[in-house]
Amino acid sequence: MSDPPILHIEDLYKSYQDSEIIKGISFVVQEKEVVVIIGPSGTGKSTLLRCINLLTRPDKGKIWLEDQEITAPHTNVDKIRQRIGMVFQDFNLFNHMTALQNVTIGMTRVLKMKSTEARDKGMWELERVGLSEKAHQYPAQLSGGQKQRVAIARALGMNPHIMLFDEPTSALDPELIGEVLGVMQKLAEEGMTMLVVTHEMGFAREVSDRIIFMENGYIVEQGPPKKMFYNPELERTRNFLWKITELYGKQEEKEQ
């Protein structure tokens, strides 16, 4: 690889009050890679994502976005965040704006695009997630899956170099999960670099290039899905994945 990786994390530490949530995490994400992070709840996966776009400041460690060290002092954090897209578990759509306005507000106010340009691009992004006919609806009028897809469009509107997904389907009713995963899969096929925290094992197995298993603030093991699911190196990994796969596997069998 001659190009620098999109994301490089080195030796990250983060504590809240007395407990250490992230205990020395290092890894790399290459361009166009889809990396999925799995692990038991509360092991710092969300905190990790928030450190990456500096919504939370890590206590120790360095992060590089392409060739820039974003943890260096005097970095323009707002500018950095323009290059990182984030999708939240709770969607966090701007309630006082329509779907289209949610997508274009970043374009007009942050990227300083002209409103006509922004509107066109906004409609294009909504089209991309399959929601162009909902452009003028308010978040309160949308279903959970639709809200999340608008949130994805909003993040895409900023032309990010990498997309972070923080348990994007965990707050959704089961029948709505599919539409969001479908959009995410499409993005992956289009070549977007993605870092996804999720419990959706089907997605992890089919779409990811690499799976990272995190527990208690450490990376336990990482590797391509075939290896992680069928031939992991560590017992712990095998146990976790086996348990989860059994749970989800039964569900998938039922659906078939």
Partner: protein, 216 residues
């Protein structure tokens, strides 16, 4: 017959005062609005010093009767600037109202879900932009009901500036009462007019609330 004629004259004279009352109320509410939003933003987003100053302002002014605040500010303003009683009274009322309005806006800002700020920062907005385009618009809509309450209070408190000589409804009623020696009718009429004003204002603000409701 003469009684009815007098009654009509009385009403016309009092209603002329309505414009003054509304003027005082409008100036006071807008001054208070500006002060209130500023203070509320300081208290939620400011550094330690701004937060303390804003909190102290709010606490001290709200602990003093409005009439006392009006008196003090009227005399203080009079020492430095030559303003009409109308303006100094309205501004004084506005400065007092600002403290109460800051509590309304502060509550509203704090009611905006924290995820909104996160999402705004996540797409690269600076703190100031996020407050301006995402937080405040929602906070303002949330604040309409308690603010309507405050607006009604300011409308009624506008009667207090009669003391410093502003020719609003109450002062005119007093004048009429002194001239006609029929205070009950004079003040009763004034009460009726105030009642209509508060009634109409409440209806108008209810409509505003319906129109701009934010559904979460």
């Amino acid at each position: 017959m003469e009684f009815l004629q007098n009654l009509l004259l009385l009403f016309r004279y009092l209603i002329a005062g309505t414009w003054v009352t509304l003027g005082v109320t409008a100036i006071a509410l807008s001054t208070g609005f500006g002060v209130g939003i500023l203070l509320a933003t300081f208290r939620v987003y400011g550094g330690a010093m701004l937060r303390t100053i804003a909190a102290l302002y709010s606490l001290v002014i709200r602990a003093v009767p409005v009439i006392v605040v009006i008196f003090i500010l009227y005399f203080v303003i009079a020492r430095f600037v030559d303003l009409s009683p109308f303006l100094s009274g309205s501004l004084a009322l506005g400065i007092a109202s600002g403290a109460y309005q800051s509590e309304v806006f502060r509550g509203a800002i704090l009611s905006v879900p924290p995820g909104q700020m996160l999402a705004a920062r996540a797409i690269g907005m600076s703190r100031v932009k996020a407050i301006r385009y995402i937080i405040l618009p929602q906070a303002l809509r949330l604040s309409i009901p308690p603010w309507s309450n405050e607006a009604a209070i300011v409308l009624k408190d506008s009667s207090l500036v009669y003391v410093i000589g502003v020719a609003e409804i109450l002062r005119r009623a007093e004048y009429v009462s002194a001239r006609t020696l029929q205070p009950f009718i004079a003040f009763g009429a004034a009460a009726l007019i105030y009642f209509s004003l508060t009634f109409l204002t409440n209806r108008a603000l209810d409509w505003l609330e319906q129109r701009y409701r934010v559904l979460m």
